[in-house]
């Protein structure tokens, strides 16, 4: 217990009130609060006056009235008799579809380009460098304009559609991907695969327990690899042994002037997806490169000194540590992707921002809809940062 002098700061003798720290703090904050509140007050009064003069209704109840407009493409069923709020959520669903798929494609492309930049091969790393330096130094929207204009004009007619065997067709009426549908034998096959996975898991346990000393026909069994071979073998036998394959491929066919079958992506969706993927991938590539290079050299040298092979060093030493470094920047890029999806307005893919724009034009409820929009984006941002922080805590080393 230290013997602290106890004094009441507000009536501390010897210091005049205007030099009293507590007093200064309270007054400064009070003045700032009054200033901010009065600005808000003035703005609110203006809003009320304007609303009265122009006959605007600022109630949020209006969001449940009939939309009266259509959403061109919707993941959830929508027609113009549904409410405005429902239209908004149709937009949200479309945004989530775009962002979800773009997260996947961006990550893949970004990793490929990032690894290309890390390559010791001059041509490959040069290509990666040109890609990254070109895209990162122009605005996303300029790139989107360039790509979308060129793409929408350059896509072929349905009669001259580009066919990529096994993957799909590309035409100006839309992109049709070969879809994978389940057949009657799928359930049985899945059961076989699950059993196979169980067996593989048990085999892995066995190998681990015996420290890799199990031999079969004179070959030493590996942990990880041998069980995987077993699983693939079982799944393959299950696939071939049944009279019908578990999946059927639905190829798009030209019927009349349009394609039938397969999974259709609208050209709008395809265009904005391509633009976002190509652009954000240049940032992801830099994250991949940066985090691999950020792994301390001593780690690699120590692993080599312990006799690990190049491949083992890469998969067991470099990549896990690089992944830790990359987590938070990657989350940042996914947030950028979410915000960038608003650029769908260039092509008119009906994601939430485009729906909001239409709704404002048709109903004039700008304020309410913008409040909804900002809440949506804040929820998305909070979601990403929660997931990011959770994952980050999980993979970081315990404090030393």
């Amino acid at each position: 217990m230290t013997n602290r002098p106890s004094y009441n700061l507000l009536i501390y003798r010897g210091v005049p009130i205007w030099r009293n720290v507590v007093f200064i703090r309270l007054t400064m904050q009070a003045l700032a609060a009054i200033f901010v509140l009065s600005i808000i007050w003035v703005l609110a009064v203006n809003l009320m006056n304007n609303a009265e003069q122009r006959g605007l209704n600022l109630s949020f109840r209006l969001l449940s009235t009939n939309a009266g407009f259509d959403v061109p493409y919707s993941l959830i069923p929508f027609d113009s008799s549904k409410s405005i709020l429902y239209a908004f959520f149709a937009g949200v669903a479309n945004t989530l579809r775009l962002v979800g798929i773009a997260m996947f494609t961006t990550t893949i492309l970004g990793i490929v380009i990032g690894l290309a930049r890390l390559s010791s091969n001059f041509v490959i790393s040069g290509l990666g460098r040109v890609y990254v330096e070109t895209l990162r130094n122009i605005p996303l929207i300029t790139f989107t304009f360039f790509l979308v204009f060129g793409l929408l004009r350059g896509l072929p007619k349905t009669s001259e559609a580009w066919r990529i065997t096994g993957i799909g067709v590309v035409s100006n009426r839309g992109i049709y991907l070969t879809s994978i549908d389940e057949s009657s034998s799928l359930v049985l096959w899945l059961v076989i695969v699950v059993l196979g996975a169980l067996l593989a898991y048990l085999l892995n346990r066995l190998v681990l327990k015996n420290r890799g000393e199990i031999k079969l026909f004179g070959i030493r069994l590996n942990r990880g690899f041998t069980p995987l071979v077993l699983l693939v073998l079982i799944a393959g036998v299950g696939w071939v042994a049944q009279p019908q394959a578990p999946f059927v491929f639905d190829q798009p066919e030209l019927k009349g002037t349009n394609f039938v079958g397969g999974m259709k992506l609208t050209t709008e969706f395809f265009a904005i997806l391509t633009a976002l993927t190509m652009y954000i991938a240049s940032y992801v590539a830099e994250i991949v490169r940066g985090s691999v290079q950020a792994v301390p050299k001593g780690q690699i040298e120590a692993a080599r000194a312990l006799g690990l092979s190049y491949w083992q060093v890469t998969t067991n030493v470099v990549l896990p540590q690089a992944a830790r470094i990359a987590v938070l920047p990657m989350i940042g890029q996914y947030v950028n992707l979410t915000k960038g999806s608003a650029l769908a307005i260039v092509v008119g893919y009906a994601e939430v921002f485009v729906v909001a724009r239409t709704a404002i034009e048709k109903t004039g409820m700008a304020l309410q809809i913008f409040v909804m929009l900002i809440i949506f984006y804040m929820i998305m941002g909070a979601f990403f940062s929660l997931v990011g922080n959770w994952y980050n805590r999980k993979v970081q080393f315990d404090g030393r």
Binding site: Q53, N121, G126, I345, A366, I374
Partner: protein
Amino acid sequence: MAVENMTEPKPMNELRPEEKLSIAGWAQKNLFSPWYNSVLTAVGVILVVMLLKEAVPFLIDAQWPAVTTNIQILLVGQYPSEELWRVGAGVLPMPFIVGLAWGVWGSMMRTFSVTLVVSAVLTAISSLFGDSMSSGLALWFTVSPFLVLLGYAVGRRDFIGPRQVLIIWFLFLLLTLFFLRGFGEDSAMPHVPTDRWGGLLVTILIAQVGIAVVLPLGIVLALARQSNLWFFKGAAIAYIEVLRATPLLALLFLMLIVSPMFLPDVTTPDRLMLAFIAIVLNNSAYMAENIRGGLQSVSRGQVEAAQALGMRGSHVTLVIVLPQAIRATIPAIVGQFIILFKDTAVIALVGLMDLLGAAYAIILGQDAWRTADPEVFLFVAAVYWIFTYGMSSVSAGVEKRMRTGAD
């Protein structure tokens, strides 16, 4: 810093004698070993050839007149032709100030300045072939490289330092804005409303004024967020978190559509001003977070030492903590400036005529160039690229200087 460097042993790879490779040896090392690299090289070369096969015929057959005949719209928008001299004279200090900065900061600014000089020289030379560029414009591009060099010569002198350059830049920027805006109707420089401004001019002006506003605003917000006064802290957190979550595009529409509802009925706010405010709001939130990182990196001992010397609280922050924090975050600050510059392109989507907006207007508005979108957008992208590349090189230079500890 310098002393520390001297005591540190040099890394081994710097002591190793440099390998001298013949061309064949270089190719062997970088292209063909181990075996799979040969495959990769082949794939890469095929890719390059395919790209060139598409790109070269396009570049030769391209309708470049779409750019050259519209160069005035792309550079200054619909600024009245008879007042164009004001643009030329108004932005003339800019190359000089770039040169000054080059002279004062040295190698950090070199690539940026050289990139701009080379671009200006190339533009001036290209005006010799073909008559689409007005003589005034050609003259401007001819003069500006010399102004950069003049600025460099002045900047090398001792009497001018970083602080002076910043003050000169800011004063000239204000002067340029007044010059472009003009005064009364009957004066020698009649008022030109901002909806006639456009092209690269608007892009550069918004970026510069934005940079001048965003940095101080970001510092204030970061300090407020770090303070232990709950009102300032709460207000700063609300500002930063809401604005960081909202896409700039949504903020832009919010400013243009919703903000007039909050203003008195008599005022008709300037659209360019509203767009500018949206960009500033968005970027200042990010800037505040960058600087907050710097504030957190200043060690507690610095504050304690300052307090022990009897410095006042505000003094400790302004003289001890803030300078160190800003120094530590210069790369992030420059990075944010680059983002701000690229962000300005978004205003094209609300019908404003910045560089991208002008390109959009040309393609959609002029029947002759309806199919010339690749050419026009390529040109626009190239212009953005030149500036952004220059700014990135500044950022890289700063980082390099910080790493080596030279001052």
